[in-house]
């Protein structure tokens, strides 16, 4: 058990927890805004996982400065790729959330309600 209790795994586990919580919220809440919030939680969970995956024990952020010097950097740095990816992921999450919010607004304008069960015009 304790061989799993590394910093990285804790990060990952936290991320997973958030993901599951987010999904649960998204699947159970009836209020559209709450659903959106749940999905943002879901997204941040994802992002945490990504960042945690980048972590390497006892290494520094991949930025060259006087402390790091220029030689065999690959021994000193954590993985820059997931950090790059997470930025993209965050921005995408932001975009999607924005769109969802806009949709929510529109739906509210149409029906004066935010209960997801009231939007079943199309079914079967």
């Amino acid at each position: 058990m304790e061989q799993y209790l590394t910093l990285q795994n804790i990060g990952i586990a936290t991320g997973f927890a958030l993901i599951l919580i987010g999904l649960y919220g998204g699947l159970t809440n009836k209020n559209i805004l709450r659903i959106i919030v749940s999905f943002t939680i879901f997204n941040s969970g994802l992002n945490i996982v990504i960042v945690a995956l980048a972590y390497l024990k006892g290494r520094v952020a991949p930025i060259i400065d006087d402390t790091t010097g220029l030689d065999n950097l690959s021994q000193k740095f954590v993985d820059p790729v997931p950090q790059a990816l997470v930025l993209t992921a965050i921005v995408i999450g932001l975009g999607v959330t924005g769109v969802m919010l806009a949709y929510a607004l529109k739906m509210y304008q149409n029906k004066q309600t935010l209960n997801i069960n009231d939007f079943k015009e199309t079914k079967w």
Binding site: G26, V81, L85, K106, N117, E121, T122, K123, W124
Partner: protein, 1043 residues
């Protein structure tokens, strides 16, 4: 060559710049958009040309670093094809949506072009994370385009879509990231190791499940359905035609990483999606949603094909392209026609009939989508089924064919409505040119595609290509007046006969059927001369029917045969549909023919493993080796020959068809089933199934069919239905004769086929003549017509004497041979049944002739004249034929005897001049004829002479017991004339078969109705479906064990 990356740069630059535009530039923006997309299309097209002409593809390294260090785009054949499709179709969509775009907010235009750009990158990129990014772009752009739909439904549908896609993309992102951590790369081509690494399988599963969910698999596709239902037609078309194939291609890209057995699972889920979605579609009233279901189904088919890519090997591209192009042209076409009709209510679609071109387009799209020849999906489906058969994937084939049947069901229900729905004036149709032209382009596209497929399969020129061309030609000249087209068609048929005669010369069997189809075709066309106007839409399909039949005569392989079969079915379907009240019967007919066709297809798939593609008529299957194939084919053919139980489509179809089309679809067309059965029996010989001798069963079916058909005919008051039922009876004889399976039996079958063709065509034509004059089909509204139409009367008289098999006319020969064959075969009971049915035939024949021609003339028929000249000619020709046969039957029978294979058991008919002998009996047509004629003539002349002074009795100076000529039917003496008989034997005609089939269809639709409530319309539930589906897929892939 322009760098493919510029598709992206152009798209983005255009998008960004367009957002600059203010109100003033608004009107030119649409053109700007068109130019930009045009440039993108140019790039992809130019690559397509380059690579097609043997040039190399191109790897684009963004940022100039080799993968995996930077993202690379690939442009090879696949990508070139797909990107070209995407961009060009995008261009068409702009034209189609032009009015929308003219008014639209500039942001919408940017979103549109970004959507296209995103799809392009999805296709080209080789980087997993990049794929994720552009999937998201496409998703958000789709959400953006949703507001093009005017109705508010679009908004909530878009939201559901957003929920679903964010769940899916979350899974994909997780999978990608873990994939990276395990393999240390994001480049798809370098990830092959992923499933092998410990834990990598989970990462791969997450990726796969995300991608599969993106393909909108059943049942986790509610969000997609709602999207289709509420999206603007143009957008719906793009979703169905661009997004789906793009994501399919992504799956295809991932295949090298996905293990073999996973691929099979995915593909199987695809097939399930195909069948289930088509199934649920049959209950749809809302057209757009129906199209949604159908799109999902097509997606499933594509997914299945992609999943089988490795298995299909060489023929993968053929199959995939077939489905892809069909989906592209036909589905988009239907969506766009939907936009033109601009209503989701099936009944409003009658408006299409205002524009024959659009109507034709609609037909083409529907047929193409349904996988009917000569469109690509037909060949693709055939190839796929054959390949599956080679792998013994019977379950797959079954599911797929059932799915296809459902597809036919809802598509042709729709076609029926379009042709028949009363032409709604208040339909909100919008026939704007910029909407019609793209649709026309799609039509041209599907035709071109079909051309390439047919060209690729290099069919036989004389027996396939020329007929196809002829059919096409008649579509082209459909504007000409009917008279011209009639002459042309008759001429074409005659010339075609002259052309193929040398090819068939040696083979009398083929000659016989070719003769039936050709002569029958020509003769049944004659009445058409008396038709007025252009008679639009008749001749193309008449040509399709006849040439389809002719394709059956001398096919090189099973595919050709099947193609002819389907063509004939399609053509006759439309001919039937042209009748006034024909919607339901025609639909029923289509369903039954399709069912039969798919059974046949399955049988061919099995046959393929035994004897290859070789036409089954030209091979010899050793006895008792292929029972199941034999049974399946027998069912398929007996369905066309309307064996009892499978016959319920026939009366309606024949009765409701246009009067002068009926002879063609009945007298001539029904022989296709006979042809099949004859070939079957000759090339298979006796076969057993589960130890039962199938031929023996067929014998019983034949006997029962004979009795049943005739019994049903007795109680008919409708002239055409009566004759139609009598066809069922005649088919019973033929099936029985074939089942006897001796030299004599086969001879009888062939003789009967020809005879039945002659007298049935004759009867139907003269019935058509009568109905043409009396304007009714109910016999109780006729009577006493012998005075006004003597010729028709004589024809009918001869017809029924022949049919009844009474000496001295040709029919007796058949009966006589029957009893001998029965004695020789020792099938006494069946024999008695056959005889009984022959006797029963007298009853309805008497009813037919007496209540139409004899009895009291009706008031409203006092002025009717003899049937038109063009109706009489073919009848007289046929009467001649019968007379000749009656006197000299050996002229026909001796040639027929030569084609009976020596392998057949039993003794052959011996001829000595006119005397036919068997060990059991003999008969001399000529003597009988002369004796009878002598007696007859003498007596008749004497009688006439004897009462030469007799004066004609006026109609009214005889007793009327109860009957007044102009009273309603119940007072017509021959109404329900055999009531007593019905009282005694009515139980024989309880419509069990009809009830059975109707109950079956009710059950099916009811279940479909229940199941589709699964799509509650609640976005959250849909999201839940995604997770459930993921779980199921996991179980399926991990083979049941959870971890």
């Amino acid at each position: 060559m322009v760098n493919p990356v510029h598709i992206v740069s152009i798209g983005l630059a255009a998008a960004f710049l367009m957002s600059l535009a203010g109100k003033r530039q608004q009107n030119i923006l649409a053109y700007f958009l068109m130019i930009a997309v045009g440039a993108m299309s140019f790039i992809s097209l130019q690559w397509l040309m380059e690579i097609y002409s043997g040039g190399a593809g191109r790897e684009v390294f963004t940022a100039g670093f080799k993968p995996p260090f930077a993202i690379n785009l690939r442009m090879t054949m696949d990508e070139a094809v797909l990107t070209s499709i995407i961009n060009i179709f995008g261009l068409f969509s702009i034209i189609y949506l032009f009015d929308t775009f003219k008014k639209a907010n500039n942001h919408l235009l940017s979103i549109f072009i970004i959507y296209l750009m995103g799809l392009n990158v999805m296709v080209m990129t080789r980087d997993l994370f990049n794929l994720f990014v552009f999937l998201e772009i496409v998703a958000i752009a789709t959400a953006g385009m949703m507001i093009m739909s005017s109705d508010k439904k679009g908004i909530s549908a878009g939201f559901k879509f957003l929920i679903a896609s964010s769940v899916i993309s979350g899974l994909l992102l997780l999978g990608t990231l873990f994939g990276y951590t395990y393999t240390g790369t994001l480049n798809i081509d370098m990830m092959q190791a992923l499933p092998l690494i410990k834990g990598g399988a989970v990462a791969l599963f997450l990726i796969v499940v995300a991608l599969v969910l993106e393909t909108k698999p059943f049942p986790a596709n509610g969000w997609a359905l709602d999207l289709y239902t509420s999206a603007n037609h143009g957008v719906g078309a793009m979703l169905s035609v661009l997004s789906a194939p793009a994501i399919m291609f992504v799956v295809y890209k991932m295949l090298p990483v996905i293990p073999q057995d996973w691929q099979l699972v995915i593909s199987f889920f695809g097939i399930i999606t195909f069948a289930a979605s088509n199934y649920l579609a049959i209950r749809q009233e809302n057209i757009r949603r129906m199209l949604g279901y159908s799109s999902v189904a097509q997606g499933g088919l594509l997914l299945a094909t992609v999943g089988l890519a490795d298995y299909l090997g060489g023929s993968f591209y053929f199959v995939a392209l077939g489905f892809l192009l069909t989906n592209l042209f036909a589905k988009a076409g239907l969506f766009w026609l939907g936009g033109i009709v601009n209503s989701d209510n099936m009944n409003k679609w009658g408006i299409l009939r205002k524009k024959p071109v659009l109507l034709l387009l609609f037909g083409i799209f529907a047929a193409a989508l349904a996988g009917l020849p000569p469109f690509p999906a037909f060949f693709a489906k055939w190839e796929l089924v054959m390949q599956l058969g080679a792998g013994e994937g019977w379950g797959w084939i079954a599911i797929m064919l059932i799915g296809s049947l459902f597809e036919i069901a809802f598509l042709f229900k729709w076609v029926g409505r379009v042709f028949k729905a009363e032409n709604e004036e208040n339909a909100p149709a919008n026939f704007a040119m910029h909407k019609q032209i793209p649709a026309l382009l799609l039509g041209a596209g599907i035709i071109a595609a079909s051309y390439f497929f047919i060209d690729y399969l290099n069919f036989n020129l004389t027996f396939v290509l020329i007929p196809l061309l002829a059919i096409a030609a008649f579509f082209v000249i459909d504007y000409a007046p009917a008279f011209i087209k009639n002459i042309l068609l008759i001429g074409a048929l005659s010339f075609y006969g002259y052309m193929i005669y040398p090819e068939l010369q040696g083979d009398i069997m083929k000659l016989v059927f070719a003769g039936i189809f050709l002569i029958g075709g020509v003769l049944t066309l004659f009445p058409g001369f008396s038709a007025k106007g252009a008679r639009k839409g008749f001749y193309p399909f008449a040509a399709m029917t006849i040439f389809g039949l002719l394709m059956l005569v001398n096919p090189a392989d099973n595919l050709t045969f099947f193609m002819g079969w389907e063509l004939m079915a399609l053509g006759s379907f439309i001919l039937i549909l042209r009748g006034k009240m024909a919607e339901k019967p025609a639909f029923r007919y289509m369903l039954f023919s399709a069912g039969g066709a798919y059974v046949m297809m399955a049988a061919f798939a099995m046959l393929n493993n035994i004897s290859g593609a070789e036409f089954f008529g030209n091979i010899n299957i050793p006895a008792n080796t292929a029972g199941i194939i034999f049974a399946l084919l027998a069912i398929a053919f007996m369905l066309k020959a309307a064996a009892i139980g499978l016959h319920i489509w026939l009366p309606g179809a024949y009765a409701e068809a246009e009067d002068d089309a009926t002879p063609l679809v009945s007298g001539v067309l029904i022989n296709s089933g006979v042809l099949g059965l004859v070939l079957l029996v000759t090339s298979f010989g006796p076969q057993t199934l589960f130890g039962y001798d199938i031929l023996h069963i067929m014998g019983w079916i034949g006997a029962i069919t004979a009795i049943g058909g005739n019994m049903l005919a007795i109680y008919e008051e409708d002239m055409k239905r009566l004759i139609a039922y009598s066809s069922v009876g005649a088919m019973g004889y033929i099936i029985f004769a074939l089942a006897i399976n001796t030299k004599l039996g086969l001879l009888i079958a062939l003789y009967y086929t020809i005879l039945h063709f002659i007298y049935k065509t004759m009867l139907f034509i003269s019935a058509a003549g009568v109905m043409h004059r009396t304007k009714t089909r109910n016999m109780y509204e006729m009577g006493g017509l012998i005075k006004s139409m003597p010729l028709s009367f004589i024809v009918v008289l001869i017809g029924i004497i022949t049919l009844a098999g009474m000496p001295p006319l040709a029919g007796f020969a058949g009966k006589w041979m029957f009893y001998n064959a029965i004695i020789l075969k020792e099938w006494y009971i069946q024999g008695a049944m056959i005889f009984f049915s022959g006797i029963v035939a007298f009853l309805y024949l008497y009813k037919l002739i007496s209540s139409v021609f004899l009895g009291q003339l009706k008031d409203n028929h006092r002025k009717v004249k003899e049937a038109p000249f063009y109706y009489i000619i073919p009848q007289l020709i046929l009467v001649m034929a019968i007379m000749v046969l009656s006197v000299q039957p050996q002229w026909l029978m001796q040639p027929l005897s030569t084609i009976i294979p020596a392998s057949f058991a039993g003794e052959a008919l011996q001829w000595d001049g006119n005397l036919a002998t068997l060990s059991t009996g003999y008969w001399n047509a000529f003597t009988i004829m002369s004796v009878v004629m002598a007696m007859f003539g003498i007596l008749f002349l004497w009688l006439v002479y004897h009462s030469r002074k007799a004066q004609k009795v006026k109609q009214f100076n005889i007793v009327f017991a109860a009957e007044k000529p102009f009273r309603p039917e119940t007072t017509h003496v021959s109404y329900n004339i055999f009531a007593a008989y019905k009282k005694a034997l009515g139980w024989m005609v309880t419509p069990l078969a009809t009830r059975f089939w109707e109950r079956l269809s009710d059950i099916f639709t009811a279940i479909a109705d229940k199941f589709r409530t699964w799509y509650t319309g609640n976005g959250q539930t849909y999201a839940l479906h995604l997770l459930i589906y993921a779980f199921i897929l996991y179980i399926a892939i991990s083979g049941g064990k959870l971890l």
